[in-house]
Symmetry: C2
Subunit: 111 residues, 2 copies
């Protein structure tokens, strides 16, 4: 099963544009929605809504409460997430390619 | 005079965070504001407001009318801009570093 979120969770993730340096994704969900496990390369998240989410990576769980208009580093990670708040989640992911794409082993959740 | 917008136009540009792969800037202005000439490396723009701007690069001028929630490619370019609309401009710039940082000679304005 693919861990590319555009393939694993196409109801939530779509490609805005892509070139040799980046792939840019739009993520949208509603309260109660939950994704299947998927992989993010090193990315920058720009939040277009305020939201609360619970992220799961293996046995690890983290709850996040993030305001609209934030820009945060998302180190490469495999996770799944559930919208635990009362509002939709709307986020742009700027996925990095090349040497910047890399590799699991950093932190978990946005930073 | 520096062409780094954080130095040339600190009233509009601030650094949200920076690591080895990216520098992320927050841009904010009000109607009528105009910047001095500055340089953007290859970047992704995420728009947090809808806005109208006039961009100038040497003799070239382009008017843009962009909606909130957009993500667009900004090829490396030196320009200055004026808020020609009736609303503030609020944008996140994800500036790319390394091989992706490069070099003037692409298009002009966001794409």
């Amino acid at each position: 099963m693919s861990t590319d979120p555009v393939i694993s969770n196409p109801e939530h993730y779509s490609v805005v544009f892509e070139n040799e340096f980046v792939r840019v994704l739009d993520y949208h969900d509603f309260p109660g929605d939950i994704t299947t496990p998927h992989l993010h390369p090193n990315s920058v998240m720009c939040t277009l809504s305020s939201f609360r989410r619970r992220l799961h990576a293996g046995p690890r769980v983290v709850d996040v409460d993030i305001q609209a208009g934030a820009a945060m580093w998302l180190p490469a990670q495999e996770h799944f997430g559930e919208n635990t708040g009362a509002t939709p989640t709307h986020v742009i992911f700027v996925e990095l390619k090349g040497d910047a794409h890399t590799v699991l082993g950093g932190g978990f959740g946005p930073q």
